[in-house]
């Protein structure tokens, strides 16, 4: 990507007046074919791993080894799912994961949008520093802070508790950053007008900014929810009690040292995907369709 293409040009070029004026889609049918072939190839690459994964979760080992080129089972078996079901306290894990991912996501939406509101809409000294402090927290892999965080949680007495699981994850720099970029694009005149009417900042945030930000909320909610849902390490660090274990932590045990049954492993992966798929299709309507009102900046 060259520097030039990214530099904004002040104005569109003026071309010779005699050039044919034609709507954009009228041109380059050949290019269109190439484009759709490329997109179709991409879709296949994107989707096939999931079809294979679901298919293989229903296969026996013998079938898998005998027909590696086959996308779907030649014989279907449920033993992968039985294996997972028999060995895990499934509902308990599911409940814990829903509580962890759900409650944390709600808190994250609140705290992130509030923080982003200040960063995007208010002028104050130290704004750049505050923004950087937030951004910097994105820049450290969790492995680095694991030991100090564990020791902190111990001193707070938060190990093996729901709030120990939730509060440290109740805000995310990613969400703040995304909200901030979004809020900036909302016309300032809206809150100026409300302020003249004597509205407080909280009122502006709540009744002007948030209602206009549904697409951003849906995006952050989905991305946070899935990130938390998929998070294996954090719940395992905070909790060692089986009562507080989450689904990925339970499923991780099928991927241990001497795994001999691919179907069980992949059945576990498929199961952990289902709630995400549901969340995804629920949110997808919102954040792709709704986004057209206000652009993400």
């Amino acid at each position: 990507m060259s520097t030039e293409t990214l530099t904004p040009a002040p104005a569109p070029p003026r071309t010779a007046p005699d050039q044919r004026r034609q709507p954009i889609r009228g041109r380059g049918n050949g290019l269109d074919i190439v484009k759709w072939v490329a997109v179709a190839a991409g879709v296949i690459v994107a989707v096939v791993p999931f079809i294979w994964m679901i298919g293989t979760s229903f296969r026996s080992e013998a079938d898998l080894f005998a027909h590696p080129a086959s996308l779907l089972p030649t014989q279907w078996t449920l033993h992968g799912y039985k294996g997972v079901w028999d060995q895990l306290p499934f509902l308990r894990l599911l409940l814990n994961t829903v509580v962890f991912a759900g409650v944390t996501t709600i808190l994250t939406l609140l705290f992130d949008s509030m923080c982003a509101y200040a960063l995007a809409r208010l002028d104050f000294r130290g704004k750049t520093i505050a923004f950087w402090l937030v951004l910097v927290t994105l820049m450290v892999p969790f492995q680095v802070t694991l030991i100090p965080v564990f020791i902190e949680l111990f001193h707070l007495g938060w190990l093996n508790t729901y709030h120990g699981l939730i509060i440290p994850r109740a805000t995310s720099a990613f969400g703040i950053f995304l909200f901030r970029q979004f809020f900036i694009s909302i016309p300032r005149e809206l809150d100026e007008a409300a302020r003249l009417d004597g509205a407080s900042h909280f009122k502006i945030y709540r009744s002007i900014i948030l209602p206009l930000s549904k697409p951003a909320i849906a995006t952050v909610a989905l991305l946070n929810f899935t990130a938390l849902w998929n998070d294996l390490l954090w719940p395992l660090v905070v909790t060692s009690s089986p009562d507080l274990q989450t689904l990925p932590a339970g499923l991780a045990l099928f991927g241990g040292q001497h795994v001999t049954d691919h179907a069980v492993l992949l059945a576990g992966a498929v199961i952990s995907l289902i709630p995400i798929a549901i969340a995804f299709f629920l949110a997808q309507r919102f954040f792709v369709a709704g986004i057209s009102n206000t652009g993400l900046k």
């Binding site: 026996s60 080992e61 013998a62 898998l64 080894f65 005998a66 590696p68 492995q143 694991l146 030991i147 564990f150 020791i151 111990f154 001193h155 707070l156 007495g157 938060w158 190990l159 508790t161 709030h163 120990g164 509060i167 294996l232 390490l233 395992l236 660090v237 060692s240 009690s241 089986p242 932590a249 991780a252 045990l253 099928f254 991927g255 241990g256 040292q257 001497h258 795994v259 001999t260 049954d261």
Partner: protein, 418 residues
């Protein structure tokens, strides 16, 4: 400005208040059974065997109640040091599947020296353990862990492929082993499935069979010695020129090659048998062929079980370890998992001998050697020394030159000064 500060303080106070609420919930009552927690990373086919031990122990008496939590080994490795430091960890843990890891915990005084040793069912019968094991867990004359299991490696072979190649039985000498591997390598199949990373080590066995060594008694590298080079060279030639095995396989890939019926032999532990059978392999299991000097050798692998130095119940914890390693428990465990018993007084047991799978693994217990026993920084010697060494020589390296550079790396890690 004042207000801002108070907000900050308020936020911190709120966090702290939450801390206070739960801080006092961890009081243990004096009556009722003593609760012991155990962390392990055992998964796969042998996992139910360990769970059964805990269940049986809890049923056998009413004074101690053990709860075992299974987590991935990676997680235990990341969490256990901090957990034991802060005293929030389990009373007992298997810190890793690698026995050498105990050295690190001994260094930081995190594990309890075991004193309840001796004979009888209530004591840890160290004298009955396979000798390599007690030695491995003893530092400065004190025992710091017991083996949670003991696996030996055997030679798995595919009877169908053997028949097709006209070979009647599994190889019994190194010469036969090498000749068979070559003969069994045809267009579509490999003679032997060797892994060199993310696996239980197979290559040291090949070297040991012909008089090679990885390290010597002073923890110096022995890879560069002529004997070691000579032991390795034929296998390297077989892999590079005769293509008896794919290069650079991980343990999982090596297993799947064998499961797919595309390799005639593989060296592996007892945990692999159920998977191979369910993949439909006509399976044979044999002892590792006899070495050039006529002695038997194979690799033994064990996971340590250790007690936290900060446990409130050292007596009960040791009682549990005594139960875990007791004769009757081990007999039951061997029967259900196919693992050989970690005790020498079970090697002649009739029921175990009758089991065709267990008997092969159990019969090799006296010959088994641990990989890098008590070598300082053993995990790094493996990861930065031996693994890359094998990966290099099987690709485009030169055995003697690579051995020299691997030796330098290893000696630096172990602090060997000769």
């Amino acid at each position: 400005m004042k207000k801002k500060k108070s907000v900050a303080i308020g936020a911190i106070a709120l966090l702290a208040a939450g801390a206070g609420l739960t801080g006092c919930s961890s009081s243990s009552s004096s009556s009722g059974p003593v609760d012991l927690t155990v962390w392990t990373g055992f998964t796969g086919g042998d996992a139910p065997g360990y769970k059964q031990i805990v269940k049986d122990f809890n049923a056998s008496q009413s004074k101690v109640k053990v709860t075992m939590t299974v987590q991935p080994w990676d997680t235990i490795q990341q969490k256990l040091p901090s957990a034991w430091l802060t005293g929030t960890g389990p009373d007992i843990a298997a810190p890793a599947p690698d026995p050498n890891v105990i050295a690190q915990y001994v260094k930081t005084n995190s594990v309890l020296p075991l004193t309840a040793t001796g004979s009888g069912d209530t004591k840890i019968n160290t004298s009955k353990f396979a000798s390599a094991l007690t030695k491995e867990f003893t530092y400065n004359g004190k025992l710091y862990a017991v083996p949670a299991n003991y696996a030996t490696l055997s030679l798995y072979y595919n009877k169908k492929l053997f028949k097709a190649a006209g070979i009647a039985s599994a190889p019994t000498t190194v010469a036969e082993f090498q000749a068979d591997a070559k003969k069994l390598t045809t267009g579509g199949t490999y003679g032997l499935s060797l892994a060199d990373n993310n696996t239980i080590q197979m290559w040291p066995i090949l070297q040991w069979l012909s008089g090679g060594e990885v390290t010597d008694s002073k923890n110096c590298s022995a890879l560069q010695t002529q004997a070691s080079i000579d032991s390795l060279q034929p296998w390297v030639t077989l892999v590079k020129d005769d293509k008896i095995s794919p290069v650079g396989q991980s343990g999982a890939e090596a297993d799947s090659l064998f499961s797919a019926g595309k390799a005639a032999m593989e060296i592996n532990g007892p945990w692999a048998a159920p998977g191979y059978k369910s993949a439909g392999i006509d399976l044979g299991i044999a002892k590792i062929p006899v070495g050039d000097d006529g002695t038997n050798v194979t690799l033994g692998s064990t996971a340590p079980l250790a007690i936290s130095a900060k446990t409130k119940h050292p007596t009960e914890a040791q009682q549990f370890l005594a139960y875990w390693t007791s004769k009757s428990t081990q007999l039951k465990f061997s029967k259900s998992t196919g693992f050989p018993p970690l005790r020498t007084d079970l090697s002649d047991n009739a029921t175990l001998k009758a089991d065709p799978t267990v008997s092969v693994f159990a019969s090799q217990v006296p010959d088994a050697r641990l990989y890098l026993p008590q070598v300082p920084s053993a995990t790094q010697v493996d990861a930065n020394g031996y693994v890359p060494f094998i990966q290099k020589v099987t690709r485009d390296g030169d055995v003697s030159a690579d051995a020299t550079s691997a030796a330098a790396t290893i000696n630096q890690l172990t602090g060997c000064s000769s």
